[in-house]
Structures are given as structure tokens and as C-alpha cells.
């Protein structure tokens, strides 16, 4: 039995259904990231787990115990908020100890616990300050300290890094990952940042309009997205999604992608889809990540499914570590990710290496992944 179990959970505000029958499980010590665009219901789901929002139907179990009717303070959870929610009139030490104080822990034990957590988070020198005297990163640490000190069964994080600047966000991300590795606590983490989601999660749940789109490891979600929404949402730059058509050529099936003023691109079937029953003429959507389209010299030598395609380079965007090259097919921009030192000039024609072993196919009707 999983440590945290959510079954058939739904939440309505008036007539709007913000959570539509969510089923999720998380093993003890797991790191579940709920990710999705704003308004997808991820924060509502977190608040439901915390007990800050009552649910309309369904069940939440922590360690086998149904917690639906329990007050937040009785669920043995701790939460880190987006705004940190530090009590402005208390010092850092008082902030961290408040939860213990409310639970009647004696002063001496409280002080010891605060010292322990402060050492872990390296905020020992800040204990006598007030929240207004701290920087964003320090506030973030205090907020985590407040959660850690109670040693709860489940940690809940509500977009904890979104108020930090870019560099600090990356640092704190690593910090959270280290902390999780060190404490082996069960975590549910909400973010709209898909990179944060990928790097932190042991289990990833993608939400959209209150419904789960896909649950899996970050690699599963990234490499084999369940539908077009997940494919488009996860990854930056986003996956190239090209309308294509199944065609028969010399007795074997190929994918044809239309182009303006040029013959269509013919690509072999992705190995995962070969031998499958795809009728000639059937429309599909080819999903291929930018890193699977490279310059020929940068292509994955281990891959057995590389097709070279001559195409016009429209835009070149050097990003330091890589160079993004934009061409056009099926009326859409196609982004390729090439080596930083690849010799590419806009306006010229060059061969693009498509690694079909990393491509997936979607059904344009249902938007689901076919292969």
C-alpha cells in the first residue's frame, strides 16, 4: 500500500469542477511533483492534501489513514508556501518554533530542535532576526526550517521557488534535492516550472484543467508523453509536433511531412511503431524533440534510425552550450538543437539529421500517443 493515496478526488467551487477525479499514489520517501499551467488545479490538489480546502468527493489517505475530515494541524503534514508566509512579528527562531509551541512541546526541546534545523539549513546566525530583515533566499530557508522542525509525515511545497531570482532558484533547487536525499521524507511539490519538475521529481504528475494527463517518472513523461498537451508542455524548447501522413514507399511504410514549394520530407517509421497497423494515408502527428534533430556530425552514432533531410536554415540562435537552428516543415517552425560549434548560417541549405528512434507518434483526433 502506498504511503500517500488519493483516490477519485474531486473538488467543485459552485458549478466549476477544478479537480476531476484524481487518482494518485506515492510511496514513502517519494518526491511527487504536480506540474501544469496556471489554473490547472495543482495548488487546489495540494491544499486538499493539506486540509486547507475541503474536497467534494473522493478520499485522501496518509499511511493508510483516511484524513479527509482531519484538521490541517492533525494530519501531521508541513507546508512551505509560495510567499513563505513567515510570521512578521516573530523572530526566525520563534517562527520555526511556533508549530512546536502550539503542540505544547517544552521550551528546552523546542530550542534544541530549532538549533538542529538551523544547523541543517545554515541559518544559525539569523535566528534573532525578523523576516523583514532577511533576503528572499534566507526567507525560503526559514520557511523550510519551519516545515522541517516538526518532522512531519508529508512535506507539501507550493511553488516555493517562484519568488526567487533565476540564479538563486537553481541553487535552492539543488538544496531541496540534497535535503530530500538526506532526510528521505515524503514530499509533494507543486510547480509550473517544468525544469524544476524534471530535476526534482521521483514521480511526476502533469495536470491540465483539473484532470491528470500523465503520471510517471520524469524520463517516462519526457520521452514518451501520453498526449500532445504533455508533449508540448514538458521540455524547453518544446517538442516539435509536425502533422504527417503514413505513406507506402517501396513496400514499407514511411512518414510524409509536407513542405511549402518543396517535395515532402520522407522519414522512416519510428522503430517503436514499425510493424504496427497504420493504414496508408492515415494522418498522424510526429513528435520529435529538438535534441533529436541535429547536424549530421552531431547525431547519435548509437542510433540505428537516422534520416538525413536537406532543408533551408531560417534562423540560427546560439545559446552558448548549444545552437538552436530553425527550419520549416508542415507549415510550422521546426527547432533543431545542434552543437555550439556547428557551422550553420541562416539562408543556406544543409542536411538535418532526424533521429527517429527518439520520435513518437500521436493521433491528431484523440491527441493521444500512438507509439
Amino acid at each position: 500500500m502506498a504511503f500517500l493515496e488519493i483516490s477519485a478526488l474531486s473538488k467543485r467551487f459552485g458549478r466549476t469542477e477544478v479537480l476531476k477525479g484524481i487518482d494518485l499514489e506515492l510511496e514513502k520517501g517519494g518526491f511527487l511533483v504536480l506540474v501544469g499551467p496556471s489554473g490547472c488545479g495543482k495548488s487546489t490538489l495540494l491544499n486538499a492534501i493539506a486540509g486547507l480546502e475541503a474536497v467534494s468527493a473522493g478520499e485522501i489517505r496518509i499511511d493508510g489513514q483516511v484524513v479527509n475530515g482531519l484538521h490541517p494541524s492533525k494530519r501531521d503534514i508541513a507546508m512551505v508556501f509560495q510567499s513563505y508566509a513567515l510570521y512578521p512579528s516573530m523572530t526566525v527562531a520563534q517562527n520555526i518554533a511556533f508549530g512546536l509551541e502550539m503542540r505544547g512541546v517544552p521550551r528546552r526541546e523546542r530550542e534544541a530542535a530549532v538549533q538542529r534545523v538551523a544547523a541543517l539549513l545554515q541559518i544559525g546566525h539569523l535566528l534573532d532576526r525578523r523576516p523583514s530583515q532577511l533576503s528572499g533566499g534566507q526567507r525560503q530557508r526559514v520557511a523550510m526550517g519551519r516545515a522541517l522542525v516538526r518532522d512531519p509525515r508529508v512535506f507539501l511545497f507550493d511553488e516555493p521557488l517562484s519568488n526567487l531570482d533565476a540564479k538563486l532558484r537553481v541553487d535552492m533547487r539543488t538544496e531541496i534535492k540534497k535535503l530530500h536525499a538526506a532526510t528521505a521524507k515524503t514530499v509533494v511539490y507543486v510547480t509550473h516550472d517544468q525544469i524544476e519538475a524534471m530535476t526534482l521529481a521521483s514521480k511526476l504528475a502533469v495536470l491540465r484543467d483539473g484532470a491528470l494527463q500523465q503520471v510517471g517518472t520524469p524520463a517516462e513523461v519526457y520521452n514518451r508523453p501520453a498526449n500532445l498537451f504533455v508533449a508540448d508542455f514538458m521540455g524547453s524548447p518544446a517538442m516539435n509536433l509536425l502533422p504527417a501522413r503514413v505513406a507506402g514507399r517501396n513496400g514499407s511504410a514511411v512518414l510524409e511531412v509536407e513542405r511549402d514549394n518543396e517535395p515532402p520530407i520522407g522519414l522512416r517509421m519510428p522503430p517503436a511503431a514499425s510493424g504496427a497497423a497504420l493504414a496508408p494515408g492515415q494522418p498522424v502527428i510526429l513528435g520529435i524533440r529538438p535534441e533529436a534533430i541535429t547536424d549530421p556530425a552531431g547525431a547519435d552514432r548509437g542510433s540505428a534510425a537516422i534520416d538525413l533531410v536537406e532543408a533551408l536554415v531560417e534562423v540560427v540562435e546560439p545559446a552558448g552550450s548549444d545552437t538552436y537552428v530553425v527550419t520549416r516543415a508542415a507549415g510550422k517552425e521546426v527547432i533543431a538543437r545542434m552543437r555550439a560549434d556547428a557551422d550553420v548560417r541562416p539562408g543556406t541549405r544543409m542536411p538535418f539529421a532526424f533521429d527517429l528512434s527518439k520520435a513518437v507518434l500521436f493521433d491528431p483526433e484523440t491527441t493521444r500517443r500512438l507509439f
Partner: protein
């Protein structure tokens, strides 16, 4: 023109500035003149008051009128000064301000952080209470005080002022707490704090500015109230404002303008004191509520 004066947009100087300063000085003069007359008159002997110019400075400064107003002047038939009535006002204003401010804070807390169905209607009704003319409630209020058995008493005045202050204090605190982050309340709930603990430990310590605004507002209103004092109390129970009126209207003997002025100054001192001590928070607090709320 010095560089120091040049704040604000470029090109706003010259004649416009002269007019603005002129008007400001004129109005300051108009408002300060009565105060000046009161102060100098209260420091003159009665002979000097009768003989001299109202605006002239006192030739022999004396505090006798102040002492007289405090301990000897006749209010109605008793000639024990205004000290007893000053005490009445203190006994009335301190509990009335404290209770109405605390209740306002509590109402604001519930109306923003513990919302219940119909909270908007409750707030609208309280707001409506702010706009009821006091004259229209005099007779019902007198009846209620009579039923409660606290007519003609300071307790009755306290109850009256608390009841009619709650609308305003609730309005102030509600708007202030509206801008108070709800995440803090949620964090405290998860930490295990209950309704009263959140109020006392989290919300009240963060309410300094609005508490000062409310206290000044309530103190000034209640201290300066004449209508309720004159309507619901009489004799030895009247507050300072009513006593001052009675003092000035007492028709026995010579009219002592210097004593009247001193008594009026004493009546005005507590509100002045509150403004001087807490006034700088007043505008700040009002703005905090206005901008964020």
C-alpha cells in the same frame, strides 16, 4: 528660489508657488487665531481681559484661571471645578475606546479570514450603522439604557459609544486585514494554532498602524461627543464636554472669560495629546489601509 524648494515637476515655480504659499499661510492664520486668543486669554487676569485687546499678549502671566477652572469654577450649582467631569470623561473614553477597538479587530478578523455565508451582508449592515444620524437613535437608545438599568451613568455612555463605534472600527480593521496575506493564517493553522491563537499571536501584533488609527479616531469622537453625554446623563455624571457647556452657561456672578478659556483648553488637551503622540502614524495608517485594501 533655492534648490531645496524645487521638488515636483519642472516648471511649476513662479507665481503659482507664491499663490499656494499665500493661501496656506492665510488658512493657517485663520485656524490658529482662535487657539491663540484662547491661550492668551486663559493666561490673563480678569481685569486685563476686561480692559485690554483680545489679541494682546498678557502683561502679567497667571495660571490662576487654569487652577480655577480645574478646582473652583461653578458648574451649575456646585463650585468644585471641572476635575470631576474630566475624570468622568476619562472613565468613559478609556474603556469605550479599548472595547470598540478590540471588537472591531475581532470583527475584521472574522469578516476576512473566517468567512461565513452572508459575511458580506453582515459587513454591509455594520457599514450602514456608520451612516445612521445619531439624533435618530436618541430615544430608542434612552429606552434601551433604561431597560438595562444603566441610564444616567457612565457605564451607559460606554455601552452607547461601543455600540456606535463598532461600525467604524470594523470597517477600519476589515480593510486592513483584507490585505493581510491569507497564507499566514493557513500556515498558522497547519502549525496547529486555533482561532484565538492566530488572532492574538499572528494578527494583532501586525495590526499596529490600524490600531493607532482606530484609537485616535475613537478617542477623538468619544471624547468630543456632546449629544450622547447631554442626552443620557445629567448632574455629576456628565462628561467633560457637557460640563464645559454648563460652566460657560452658569449665570451666577461675573463671567470669567479667562476661566472659561482655560476650561476649554483643558477639555481639548487630551485629544491634542493623542494627536501629538500618535498623529504621525495616523496618516500612515490610513494610507496603508487605503492603498492595499
Amino acid at each position: 528660489m533655492t534648490a531645496r524648494a524645487e521638488s515636483g515637476p519642472v516648471g511649476g515655480g513662479g507665481l503659482g508657488r507664491v499663490v499656494i504659499w499665500g493661501l496656506l499661510l492665510f488658512f493657517a492664520f485663520v485656524f490658529l487665531l482662535p487657539l491663540f486668543v484662547m491661550v492668551v486669554t486663559s493666561l490673563k487676569t480678569l481685569d486685563e481681559v476686561h480692559a485690554g485687546n483680545m489679541l494682546a499678549l498678557p502683561q502679567h502671566v497667571t495660571i490662576a484661571p487654569w487652577l480655577g477652572a480645574w478646582g473652583r469654577a461653578c458648574v451649575g450649582l456646585s463650585c468644585t471645578g471641572i476635575k470631576g467631569y474630566f475624570g468622568n470623561s476619562i472613565l468613559m473614553v478609556v474603556p469605550a475606546v479599548a472595547i470598540s477597538t478590540l471588537l472591531g479587530a475581532l470583527n475584521g478578523y472574522v469578516l476576512t479570514k473566517w468567512r461565513f455565508p452572508g459575511h458580506k451582508i453582515v459587513f454591509a449592515l455594520m457599514l450602514f450603522g456608520c451612516f445612521i444620524p445619531f439624533q435618530s437613535v436618541l430615544i430608542p437608545m434612552a429606552r434601551v439604557l433604561g431597560i438595562l438599568g444603566i441610564g444616567n451613568s457612565i457605564l451607559g455612555l460606554i455601552v452607547t459609544h461601543v455600540v456606535y463605534g463598532i461600525g467604524f472600527t470594523t470597517l477600519f480593521f476589515r480593510n486592513y486585514y483584507e490585505a493581510f496575506p491569507t497564507e499566514l493564517i493557513r500556515a498558522a493553522q497547519i502549525d496547529g494554532a486555533g482561532f484565538w491563537q492566530i488572532f492574538r499571536r499572528i494578527l494583532l501584533p501586525a495590526s499596529g498602524p490600524i490600531a493607532i488609527v482606530t484609537v485616535i479616531f475613537q478617542f477623538t469622537n468619544i471624547w468630543n461627543d456632546f449629544l450622547f453625554g447631554a442626552s443620557f446623563t445629567s448632574g455629576a455624571n456628565v462628561p467633560m464636554t457637557v460640563a464645559l457647556n454648563n460652566l460657560v452657561n452658569t449665570s451666577t456672578g461675573v463671567r470669567e472669560y479667562n476661566v472659561d478659556m482655560a476650561a476649554a483648553m483643558i477639555a481639548a488637551l487630551p485629544t491634542l495629546f493623542v494627536y501629538v503622540v500618535a498623529g504621525r502614524y495616523f496618516v500612515r495608517g490610513l494610507m496603508a489601509g487605503a492603498v492595499k485594501g
